[in-house]
């Protein structure tokens, strides 16, 4: 066709009926056809992308995400960055102060336990430190509030505070407000974007930065998270503490009116604030050691390989990477067990499936169809039916043991234990996956002409040689397809191992489910899931290369 077009090029381009060049007309038709095809596919593609691919992607992303430390203790993490853990010295006083303020806010928002359990994955026992500290952190602040309120009773009133801190007609520090919105939002995993009338006064933020910041934090929390108006409510006890601390050195000369009056009165309050390092060490002596600081610093980055390291029984330590303690190394073993048991299941499926597929492929059609029902019926039967059937059969008081006892093969007193162990999982899963092996084998074997075997035999081959040298090599694609299919399916199995596997016969999937629903260590679950998915996709890619997804046959 292109030849014809070229030849005609000398006489000008060939025209379509409507007068446009044929080439362009064809291209347009092709484009329209492509567009129509895509239009038909689009609804489903978008549906699958939005409700399946993206959710899985974002779930797997949790395996590297680690913003909880920086979100809960933003100031501490920032100040701790310059601290050298190997120096053997405790962090500077400023770090302790930042920790006190951060932890107070976290405890008010009830987020400190979440941080504790996150760090506990890396350093066992640290969660109790955070729980304990969260309970006692407000002791000092309460004392400060009492001292301030008894000396200047006006501070008992939330409206006094509001009038003191709110910009009103003055200049507002909107940068501080939006920064605190961001901080509270990140702390609570929300947007913290609700409406509020409060804006911190720029003047106050200059003179009393820490107090204004703490008050703004509280006001944002109160308005956006609790949905209450900060104008009439008492702030956290943290604010009076910050005020008393700052008034010791603050210069109030720039203030006038009520503000100056109130703050001068407050400046006269005599309240001793011990160094924050002592305050924290009083709450829990562990704050006086290097360990918690080291742990926080090591795991403070926004992204972490920590979950993946945990997934392979390693961990991130201040000195670099190391193996988990012996008694916590279970996941590599579990991966190994999942792989080995999947291989055993695949091999037993090959062993059991090959003779059956051969028989089905070589029997007359009518007989083969009849026997095929015996393969297809389990295939179509509910997974839970088959699993419950195996539970019934394999139990110690179950059918198989009863038969064995009745035959006298097994003593009534020592019935075989066939369930809640690896044996149970392997038997039940071999049964469940066997049809997935037989069907592809059968479809390949059907294509092997029987005359080849006859030819081999007439050339003098024995039955065995004829089978092994002629028939078997031609049936290998079927074995390959079936094996990969069975292996892919078995490696990610959850239901059957959960019911018949006990503790010894469970797979990595069961561990993922445990971390999602019981231990709530979602990062680790995501890391385990990513590794499992990578293995499955690799196998799927092989399957696609060998068999092609278009050739998957059902039923």
């Amino acid at each position: 066709m292109s030849n014809a077009l070229n030849q005609d090029a000398e006489n000008g381009p060939v025209m379509a009926a409507d007068g446009t060049p044929l080439k362009r007309s064809l291209a347009r038709a092709l484009r329209r056809q492509k567009g129509r095809a895509l239009l038909l596919i689009a609804p489903l593609l978008i549906f699958v992308l939005v409700t399946f691919i993206v959710p899985i992607g974002s779930m797997l992303f949790r395996s590297v995400e680690n913003d909880i430390v920086a979100n809960t203790l933003p100031d501490t993490v920032q100040r701790l960055a310059s601290w050298d853990a190997t120096s053997g010295e405790l962090p500077a006083e400023g770090v302790y102060e930042a920790m006190y303020y951060d932890l107070f806010v976290a405890a008010e928002a009830k987020r400190h336990t979440r941080l504790g359990s996150r760090l506990n994955y890396e350093e066992s026992g640290i969660s109790s430190l955070f729980r304990q500290s969260g309970r006692k952190i407000d002791d000092l602040a309460k004392d400060a509030t009492k001292a301030l309120e008894s000396a200047v009773p006006a501070f008992k009133d939330g409206e006094t505070w509001y009038a003191l801190m709110n910009a009103g007609n003055d200049e507002a520090n909107s940068g501080l407000l939006s920064a605190m919105r961001g901080r509270i939002g990140r702390l609570n995993d929300s947007s913290a974007s609700g409406d509020m009338d409060f804006a911190p006064s720029a003047l106050m933020a200059d003179i009393l930065p820490l107090t204004t910041r703490s008050y703004t934090e509280w006001a944002v929390y109160e308005a956006t998270e609790e949905g209450r108006d900060p104008a009439t409510r008492d702030p956290w006890e943290l604010v009076p503490l910050a005020l008393l601390q700052e008034l010791k050195t603050a210069d109030l000369s720039g203030l006038t009116g009520t503000r100056a009056e109130l703050l001068t009165q407050a400046q006269a309050v005599n309240f001793d604030i011990p160094p924050y390092s002592e305050v924290l060490a009083d709450i829990d002596p562990e704050w006086g050691t290097i360990l918690p600081w080291e742990t926080i610093q090591t795991h403070s980055s926004k992204y972490t390989a920590g979950y993946f390291l945990n997934a392979v029984d390693a961990q991130k330590t201040p000195e670099g990477y190391a193996w988990q303690p012996e008694d916590k190394q279970i996941l590599l073993k579990l991966f190994g067990r999942t792989l080995i048991m999947s291989m055993i299941i695949t091999c037993s499926c090959i062993l059991l499936g090959y003779p059956v597929a051969w028989l089905l492929a070589n029997l007359p059609t009518a007989k083969a169809n009849l026997l095929m029902i015996l393969v297809l019926l389990p295939f179509w039967t509910s997974l839970l039916v088959r699993t419950s059937a195996w539970k019934v059969m394999l139990q110690q008081q179950g059918v198989i043991n009863d038969v064995l006892v009745w035959l006298g093969l097994v003593d009534d007193a020592n019935r075989l234990i066939m369930i809640n162990n690896q044996f149970g999982t392997i038997v039940a899963m071999t049964h469940i996956l066997l049809p997935f092996m037989i069907l592809p084998m059968y479809s390949v074997m059907q294509t092997v002409p029987p005359s080849y075997l006859r030819a081999a035999k007439s050339l003098g081959a024995t039955n065995w040689t004829a089978f092994w040298r002629v028939y078997f090599p031609q049936s290998i694609p079927g074995i390959g397809a079936g094996s990969i299919l069975v292996f892919i399916l078995s490696i990610g199995y959850y239901i059957t191992p959960e019911i018949v596997g006990g503790t010894k016969g469970v797979f990595i999937s069961n561990r993922i489910a445990y971390h999602i629903s019981s231990s709530l260590n979602w990062g680790l679950a995501a890391a385990l899931g990513s590794i499992l998915l990578a293995v499955v996709l690799l196998l799927y890619w092989c399957y696609d290369r060998i068999v092609g997804i278009d050739n998957v046959k059902l039923g």
């Binding site: 056809q33 492509k34 129509r36 895509l38 239009l39 038909l40 596919i41 609804p43 489903l44 549906f47 699958v48 409700t51 399946f52 691919i53 959710p55 899985i56 974002s58 797997l60 059991l352 003779p355 059956v356 007359p364 026997l371 015996l374 393969v375 297809l376 019926l377 389990p378 179509w380 039967t381 509910s382 839970l384 039916v385 088959r386 699993t387 059937a389 195996w390 539970k391 019934v392 059969m393 139990q395 008081q397 059918v399 049964h431 066997l434 990610g492 959850y494 019911i499 993922i512 489910a513 999602i516 679950a525 995501a526 899931g529 998915l533 996709l537 997804i549 998957v552 059902l554 039923g555």
Partner: protein, 294 residues
């Protein structure tokens, strides 16, 4: 295949022992399904054959587990839930899946391989991974539907599970319908268009009747996938959407009751019906497309 008259003794032995081996494998395949049937008529709450049952004593048999299934509220509610969720999920997967399969079978589809891989992926990705991914996605979506749109909590629960299940059914529809479309004669639609039919009429009057067997069997696969699914519904659904498999799963894990065997027997009955329908459809499809039964 038959044994020739000149076969030697070892050949005879091998011939018969091979048959015996195959028979044993068939027994292995079918026994678990057969065993649950008589056990479901057990008069006792045991999971094994009682001496009365073995003596074929009528007193050893009873319908009480079936009675329990049909009168127990929890079982009935889970059956009802399954019968609500599966058809809707099937409807979504079949309608979207058939359209996409027709699109995919056109001759010039850009990125065909990638699109196919994405659409098949729900079948390949291990269920536990799909379930956890969907868990996070649908809890956010559910919250949004409940708070922003003010929808009923129970209704939102059903929507979540139905959407999740329809994604799982899609690969089956795609595979069966594209397989039917492989043998589809394009000149038929061109002929219809030639005679003045618009694309919609062509689709419903010419193409649809021919690919219908594939669509129905894809739909049956999607239905059974949803009807039999437990991992995703465990994660995405709440107690109000407890389906039959979920109820069986908790039953097997916690208080194992013989009612499960009665349910299992009923489900085997359903699968026999489905198997027959799919087989009949396959034959009809081959006949329609002019593929001669070998």
């Amino acid at each position: 295949m038959g044994l020739p008259p000149y076969a030697t003794t070892p050949q005879r032995i091998w011939y018969y022992s091979f048959r015996v081996i195959c028979a044993l494998i068939f027994i292995f395949l079918i026994t678990p399904i057969i065993v649950v049937m008589p056990l479901s008529f057990n008069a006792e709450n045991f999971f094994t054959f009682t001496p009365e049952m073995l003596r074929l004593d009528p007193d050893g048999y009873s319908l009480k587990h079936y009675q329990d299934f049909f009168t127990n509220n929890e079982w009935q509610r889970s059956l009802k839930n399954s019968l609500i969720i599966a058809p809707f999920a099937t409807l979504i997967s079949v309608s979207l899946g058939t359209l996409a399969a027709i699109g995919l079978s056109q001759s010039h589809v850009p990125f065909k391989g990638t699109i196919m891989a994405i659409l098949i992926s729900p079948m390949i990705v291990p269920l536990i991974i799909s379930a956890t991914g969907m868990f996070f996605f649908y809890s956010t979506l559910g919250n949004w539907l409940e708070t922003t749109l003010g929808l009923d909590k129970n209704f939102v629960g059903y929507v979540k599970v139905i959407l999740a299940h329809s994604v799982l059914g899609i690969p089956f529809v795609i595979i069966t319908v594209t397989a039917t479309l492989v043998g589809f004669d394009r000149s038929l639609t061109r002929a219809a268009a030639n005679m003045g039919a618009n694309p919609v009429t062509t689709f419903f009057r010419v193409q649809m009747p021919l690919i219908l067997p594939g669509v129905i069997s894809g739909g049956l696969f999607a239905f059974i996938t949803s009807f039999d699914e437990v991992v995703v519904v465990l994660f995405v659904g709440s107690a109000g959407q407890k389906t039959l498999p979920w109820q069986m799963f908790t039953g097997l894990r916690e208080q194992i009751s013989p009612t499960i065997l009665a349910v299992a027997t009923l489900l085997v009955g359903i699968s026999i019906i489905l198997l027959t329908v799919v087989e009949l459809l396959r034959r009809r499809s081959e006949r329609l497309r002019g593929i001669v039964e070998s």
